[in-house]
Amino acid sequence: MDTHKGILLCGEIEKGTLAPITMELLGIGRVLADKTGQELSILLMGSDIGGLGEEALAYGADKVYVAENPLLEHYHSDACTMVAADLCRKALPSILLLGNTDAGRDLAPRLAARLQAGLATDAVELDIDPDTGILVVTRPVFGGNALASVMVRKVRPQIATVRPKTVKPAEKDASRQGQVIRMVAEVDSSTLKVQVVERVEEKVEGVRLEDAEVVVSGGRGIGSSQSYEMIWELARLLDGAVGATRPACEEGWISMLHQVGQTGKMVSPKLYIAVALSGAMQHIAGCSGSKCIVAINQDPEANIFKVAHYGVVGDYKEILPAFMGKLKELLAK
């Protein structure tokens, strides 16, 4: 195992720039590298990476591996697994970090299998065990009802995917020096078994959940798509985005893209208004980063009141109209 050294990150590129998760990986990667006195390197895969390698150096990497190939323009499972596994076999990192994103969720377990390594997904905390120097990954389990700490003792690399927006992003320092290595990213298209036919972007109505300062979410208690209109109305009033619980989406009251939670979107607005939803941990997982949570629910025992800062117990159909009336008055001032 002494053969494996250093920390390798799998960065992500979004619309020609380093994606936010890349800066977050560089942030936590730098912390762990400094703690263990190891080198921090990052792999960037894409079709035209331009100056992003130098950019990654400025954000804290010591070494950047650039893998360019037209087949890597978008994340492709087979192609990226091949390129990343190849690099790991050559660079032999001790720790490999990815984002717990569309790409990272898919890539990490395939790499773990190919490299016969150990993987902990969806990390919210990463640290080094002072006695052994081994990475300790803390991850929510049982929908967020519990936290598990995981260590990979016997195999290398120690792989983890990091939940977006849970670690501090790196800051840019243009004076930082390092090495950009252009790899020959040979991807034989005949070995790609799964073909991407098309990618469809679905536009959400209204404000984007991820960017919103205010999010208003409705749950199963709303009762119908017609009643869901009230959630939209409140969101518009506050220039906010509309969220939903899984049952509200599955009832067809709103598109699945609005689902907030462990298997939906992760939001961290200043204000999160939860209406007629019980506050299951799988839902809270997606909004617990909110500065202020307001709960409206007719059941005083509902779990949402255990995580909310303000609450009103009662029927939302009576509460929301009065609340919106007063809001209009206050906001007009």
Binding site: R105, A113, P140, V141, V214, S278, A308, G311
Partner: protein, 266 residues
């Protein structure tokens, strides 16, 4: 088409948080009395996806589950939804395996089953939430994998699969045999029919042991685990909720708006 669906039995993930208890020493969840374990939610959706393919194209569905105790119950549930055959994998050597070990045991069972066109898994087990077993299993079987599917159709001798993405979806064409992990977007699971329940009760569900599927003991030995859970805890939440009241709901609502304004939140 022969479809193999991997389903896991888990403690009911929908028990209210207030009733959620763990035993930090054994790192296990202590389910509240009287709440039986259930089929993991995404695995139930995987069974649903298999049944949809069967409805449309005709297929034989075999369900496998590795677990202890009443693990046959989740297999029966899948049979009552429309699966044809079920097998449990039960052996003391299979207890507390990590994702890698789990995938290894499933791969051995699938190799024993023999011919198949499609293996379905859930996108993640709804207890430990790892989302690893499906992809590792595919790599072990040496077949292509498509993760987090919201729709699966037979097309052009292979499968046309829609994958859920953050801002939409991606359509891919995969050859068979392959493995697909299923998300809840495939649709609500069908309810068992009366006939389905009767067939499921009568069906013989063989229980395979480590020996039956030629497990290499080193691969499932605790010392061989790739990942180790060193601690399990329940996070402390110290939020105090300020319950806003009034003489009626309307008045409480007005008071809420006033307080949020005073606290500079809106």
């Amino acid at each position: 088409m022969h479809i193999i669906v991997c389903v896991k039995q888990i403690p009911d993930p929908e028990i209210p948080s207030a009733k959620f208890k763990i035993d930090p020493a054994t790192k296990k969840v202590v389910p509240p009395a009287g709440v039986p374990p259930v089929i993991s939610v995404f695995d139930e959706r995987a069974v649903e996806a298999a049944c949809q393919l069967k409805d449309k194209n005709g297929a034989k569905i075999t369900v496998i589950s590795m677990g202890q105790g009443k693990v046959a119950d989740v297999v029966k549930h899948a049979l009552s939804m429309g699966a044809d055959d079920g097998i449990t994998l039960q052996d003391s050597a299979f207890e507390n395996l990590d994702s890698y070990g789990t995938a290894y045991v499933l791969s051995k069972a699938i190799q024993k089953i023999g011919e198949y066109d499609l293996v379905l898994c859930g996108r993640q087990a709804a207890d430990w939430d790892s989302g690893q077993v499906g992809s590792i299993l595919a790599e072990m079987l040496g077949i292509p994998v498509v993760t987090i599917a919201r729709n699966i159709q037979a097309a052009d001798g292979g499968l046309r699969v829609e994958r859920v993405l953050k801002d939409g979806y991606e359509v891919v064409q995969a050859p068979m045999p392959c493995l697909v992990t299923v998300s809840n977007e495939v649709g609500l699971p069908r309810l068992p029919t009366g006939m389905g329940i009767i067939t499921a009760t009568r069906k013989k569900i063989p229980a395979w042991t480590a020996q039956d599927i030629e497990i290499d003991p080193a691969q499932v030995a605790p010392e061989g685990a790739h990942t180790e859970i060193v601690k399990l805890s329940v996070p402390i939440r110290d939020v105090q909720c300020e319950i806003v009241t009034g003489k009626d709901a309307g008045e409480a609502a007005v008071e809420l708006a006033v307080r949020l304004r005073a606290a500079n939140i809106i």
